[in-house]
Symmetry: none
Subunit: 129 residues, 4 copies
DNA sequence: GTGGTCTAGACCACC
DNA sequence: GTGGTCTAGACCACG
């Protein structure tokens, strides 16, 4: 469960946890049927309030990604992998759409927006390597 | 001052007003030295509370885009145009960066992200025409 | 009637006119019994709205500094000179008191405040010469 | 957070709160990293509307003095202390300059102004003790 | 509990 | 008419 959250990110902490776990499921970093860390364990690891982790887990349950195993904890649902893979790209697509809609209002041309995008993509890739 | 706001957009109304006006200044839709619509007038036009418009205007003042002319209204500051042009692309760039950073965490490859982007850009352009 | 007003000064324009005229009377720049410029003349000279000059004159009348001479205009009242001399220092004293009261709240010591004052006084004098 | 505001002071209440908190930070009465009183708490203490306090806090944020800790409150930014110390004397200096500039227009001599200043300073000190 | 936002309505000084 | 300020009360997301 290797990821970190950024408390000053604008995005709610619980929301970040939700997404990160969905991402992890999507890329098979946590396998279907596996138990995920307990609320208090993950809370300690991420240095956030246990309530916040609990809320994220609650949301993941209602999203059908996690299911409770009585007396043991929470495990990844069998149908979750495909679901998460689809949702991951869906989230990204939605975010892209929002940004582009905003960019359009700003009167930037499609070419200008494309250029900005390519530049940012390169800078992100450079950071990674 | 032709623009509209979306109350259910997630972005605060006053923030939308701020951006739209910066965009308008950037593309010279409102010229430097011109009076912008009064608080009450814009409030009526957008069907929002005058306080909300006032808050947006206040922020634009502290951003140096508007200056008050006592008893007359608010006018676009002389240095605002260049400032807003720069800020407009800066806002978009920042938003792109956020999305890309999120996309990267989701383990999508650069190619996949690029494809999504191109697809969304096309769909936006189609809507416009 | 040589003085200028600063529209971006925080102090209301009509108030600036009132004070400047009182100052002028106090230092005998306009003599008792003299007619002062008409509303529209002074308004043109200072490049402000005639209403604003009219308001200043109204206040000066109710302060007893100006009196109307039917068919001619406004002249400086006979008792005005002494009155204005007293009021001038009174205004300054009040302003000093406000600043000092604020400075006290900021926990600056009397010595520090004095130093600031002396420094500013010198810089003002230098500007003048 | 021991200070009071004067609603009939001419200076806006939210402005008074802003300055008082900057003063407090400058003199280390509230330490860097500490949480300041909540909006509602300070509003109750000062007997003003929570919105007014919220507005002051918002301004302090955009001034970089406070930062929000989500769901917890507002804390003093790490760079705030030095910033506030500088700004405190800067505010006082500016106010002194305004008064002196006004005094100069009134044709009072430097000596006269100095005398007024010393007198007021003494009277303020007497009040305090 | 926290801050953030919005609405509604009022009063003020200024031009 | 203009902006500026304040109050009152409501709703929201977050921890």
């Amino acid at each position: 469960m290797f990821f970190s959250i950024d408390p000053a990110n604008g995005v709610a902490i619980y929301e970040q946890i939700v997404r990160q776990i969905k991402f992890a499921v999507a890329r098979d970093a946590v396998k279907v049927g596996e138990l995920i860390p307990s609320v208090r364990e993950l809370a300690r690891e991420l240095a956030v309030n246990p309530n916040t982790v609990a809320r994220a887990y609650r949301q993941l349950q209602s999203d059908g990604v996690l299911i409770t195993v009585r007396g043991e904890g929470l495990e990844v649902a069998s149908a979750a992998r495909g679901h998460c893979r689809r949702e991951t790209t869906e989230i990204i697509r939605l975010r892209l759409r929002q940004v582009l809609s905003e960019a359009r209002q700003s009167q930037l041309t499609a070419t200008e927006i494309s250029k900005l995008f390519e530049a940012e993509l390169k800078s992100i890739e450079k950071q990674e390597s």
